[in-house]
């Protein structure tokens, strides 16, 4: 039987809006994943260190401050540098459509915009995240 997915949910940068991430955390827990929430005001270095330390399968990033164009690619680069580039990364918050292609190129698997249902997020995670190191 496959073990439960381990997911790190993080708030990069100075943005303090945590309503969305807490609701997503509960939905993922209710759906059977182990969720580790970093809390607010995380630097890219802190997020990557936590992801590796907690040996997670995926990272969810929530940001509403407009700083995603700098912080998300930074997180992806650090993950690759530390040999954790295979961790699936998804995100949400206030991220304009026109910024999404750049983030996708940087390696972000999916961005969920405002109005997305929890059901859709849980389904996507179930379909796209596997326990790291498990047989395909």
């Amino acid at each position: 039987m496959a073990r439960a997915l381990r997911i790190l949910l993080a708030k990069p940068g100075l943005d303090g809006h945590d309503r969305g991430i807490k609701v997503v955390a509960r939905a993922l827990r209710d759906a059977g994943s182990e969720v580790i929430y970093t809390g607010l005001h995380q630097t890219p270095e802190m997020i990557v260190a936590a992801a590796i330390q907690e040996d997670v399968d995926a990272i969810g990033l929530s940001i509403l401050s407009g700083a995603h164009n700098v912080l998300f690619p930074r997180i992806m680069a650090l993950l690759r540098e530390r040999g954790a580039g295979d961790i699936v990364v998804f995100g949400g918050g206030i991220i304009p459509e026109e910024d999404m292609p750049v983030l996708a190129t940087a390696g972000i698997g999916r961005i969920f915009n405002p109005g997305t249902s929890l059901e859709e997020i849980v389904r996507w995670v179930g379909e796209h995240v596997r326990p790291r190191g498990a047989a395909a």
Binding site: G13, H17, G66, E119
Partner: protein, 524 residues
């Protein structure tokens, strides 16, 4: 059927419903204690609410341009949005400011930026509200420093600093130092403001952010008033006479979707605060009993899908604020879920207020819904439910203790999750999102922040640092540190620092050094 707070709504209300609640059958008159119907006798007939659109982005000159635009288009007061680094007490070149400068608001690192921000604005004729909390003392000092420089008497300065740290720990989450030292700095501001700034609202006791974070209307009301109680106690503990500072405490509420619940909330708020001031605290001054409030339409209720629908939502919410008796109003722009407002979007939002004020006729009489079987009943029910929460918070030892115990934070998170489940189950409909959705919508224009803003602001701040009397700045910061470590009022020292062009980050570093930085326990 229920209101979003869970109060049952009947199919019809009659005079029999008024018999159930003591106040409902006799709500009094506007301008008379307990002010259920409004704090002034004629309300908008005597004077319209202030149209005060929250604005700020990029560098100081960008926001100054937007301020002038809004004033030229009929706005009647200013409201400043600062960027994340400023809100958190960091300079634009701090490592944590990377990617954040000018994005959520305007970047202000020193008095130099402030002077550009307010260029051409007559500080003795325009009132300014600044949404700033953790470093509110610094921004207030900058505003006063500007006025001092321009020869404007301090008693002519009108405006507001939000300064409500309790709601930061509960909801908005912009902090520097922990709760108790935060309150000490607020006490210093209250003492300074009471003495020097008779027209300044030192604190804007806010429910907006608590509501946006997911609370119900009843929780928003209760937690805001409980925060207010804590600030009154703080002012008294600082040695101030109650009626010397209480008249300058102001409020800020959300205006959300449920039309009548929101109106009831405003009416209940006035009645409750009047009671709290007169009965709980023994205030003798009617001005202390008035709940003066700004209102903002609910950002969180607006959708990315079919954004033009947001114009209709904001129109209804604005009407609720006006029928609720707010003194000042911000209407959101339709592009709320995309970015900071474009000029076109904010103009529509401002025009919404102007149409309400000049075309709808609702301003001709005070509290037009007074006496309504439904509204009076609902006002009483919202009030009763809110007192329950205030009693609970009193039992916990007051709001400071409740915040430290995580109580309001948990309530907000629970309410937020409950709401989302209702949306998921389509028990709560959001037009364009879980009902009446449409594929393939055209994109709307959105505001983009020039990426050059950040490097330019960084250079600018470095120039300010190299161009000033470094030794003088060092002396000011040391004196501030001594005051912060001891019991002397920090405000005069903050003012000296600001006038010597110490930066926001440097001043806040003093507080970080003395009081430590707050870390919130990461609870889902």
């Amino acid at each position: 059927m229920e209101t979003p707070s869970g109060i049952p709504v009947k199919a019809v209300y009659t005079e029999d419903d008024l018999a159930g609640l003591p106040e409902a059958g006799n709500p009094g008159r506007p301008g008379e204690y307990p002010y259920t119907r409004g704090i002034h006798p004629t309300m908008y007939r005597g004077r319209l609410w202030t149209m005060r659109q929250f604005a700020g982005f990029g560098a100081a000159e960008d926001t100054n341009r937007r301020f002038h635009y809004l004033l030229e288009h009929g706005q009647t007061g200013l409201s400043v949005a600062f960027d994340m680094p400023t809100l958190m007490g960091y300079d634009s070149d701090h490592p944590r400011a990377l990617g954040e400068v000018g994005r959520e608001g305007v970047a202000v690192d020193s008095l130099a930026d402030m002077e550009v921000l307010f260029k051409g604005i007559p500080l003795d004729q325009v009132t300014t509200s600044m949404t700033i909390n953790a470093p509110a003392n610094v921004l207030l000092a900058m505003y006063v420093a500007m006025a001092d420089r321009q020869g404007i008497p301090r008693d002519r300065l009108g405006g507001t600093t939000q300064t409500d740290m309790l709601k930061e720990f509960i909801a908005q989450k912009e902090w520097i130092v922990p709760p108790r030292p935060s309150l000490r700095l607020i006490q210093d501001m209250l003492v300074f403001g009471t003495r020097e700034l008779p027209r300044w609202n030192v604190i804007s006791i806010s429910g907006y952010h608590i509501r946006e974070a997911g609370s119900t209307a009843v929780q928003e009301l209760a937690f805001t008033l409980a925060d207010g109680i804590a600030y009154v106690e703080a002012g008294l503990a600082a040695g101030l006479e109650l009626d010397a500072f209480a008249p300058r405490l102001s409020f800020f509420f959300d205006v959300h979707n449920d039309f009548f619940e929101e109106i009831a909330k405003f009416r209940a708020a006035r009645r409750m605060w009047a009671r709290i001031m007169r009965e709980r605290f023994g205030s003798k001054e009617p001005r202390s009993w008035w709940l003066r409030t700004h209102a903002q339409t609910a950002g969180v209720s607006l959708t990315a899908q079919q954004p033009l629908n947001n114009i209709a939502r904001v129109g209804l919410q604005a009407l609720a604020a006006v029928l609720g008796g707010a003194q000042s109003l911000h209407t959101n722009s339709m592009d709320e879920t995309y970015s900071l407002p474009t000029e076109e979007a904010v103009t529509v939002a401002l025009r919404t207020q102007q149409i309400l004020a000049h075309e709808s006729g609702v301003t001709a009489t005070a509290d037009p819904l007074g006496g309504s079987y439904f509204v009076e009943t609902l006002t009483g029910q919202v009030e009763e439910a809110a007192w329950e929460y205030i009693r609970k918070i009193d039992d916990l030892g007051g709001m400071v203790a409740a915040v430290e115990a995580g109580y309001p934070q948990r309530e907000v998170a629970e309410a937020s999750y409950r709401f989302q489940l209702q949306v998921e189950r389509r028990e709560r409909i959001i037009v364009g999102v879980n009902e009446f959705a449409a594929a393939g919508e055209p994109a709307i224009p959105t505001l983009r922040i020039d990426p050059e803003v950040e490097p330019r602001q960084v250079s600018r701040t470095r120039e300010v640092r190299s161009g000033r009397d470094g030794a003088g700045v060092g002396r000011c910061l040391s004196a501030l540190r001594k005051a912060a470590e001891g019991h002397d009022n920090t405000m005069e020292h903050v003012l000296e620092c600001v006038k010597s062009y110490a930066t926001l980050g440097e001043i806040c570093d003093v507080f970080r050094g003395v009081y430590g930085e707050y870390r919130e326990p990461a609870v889902v």
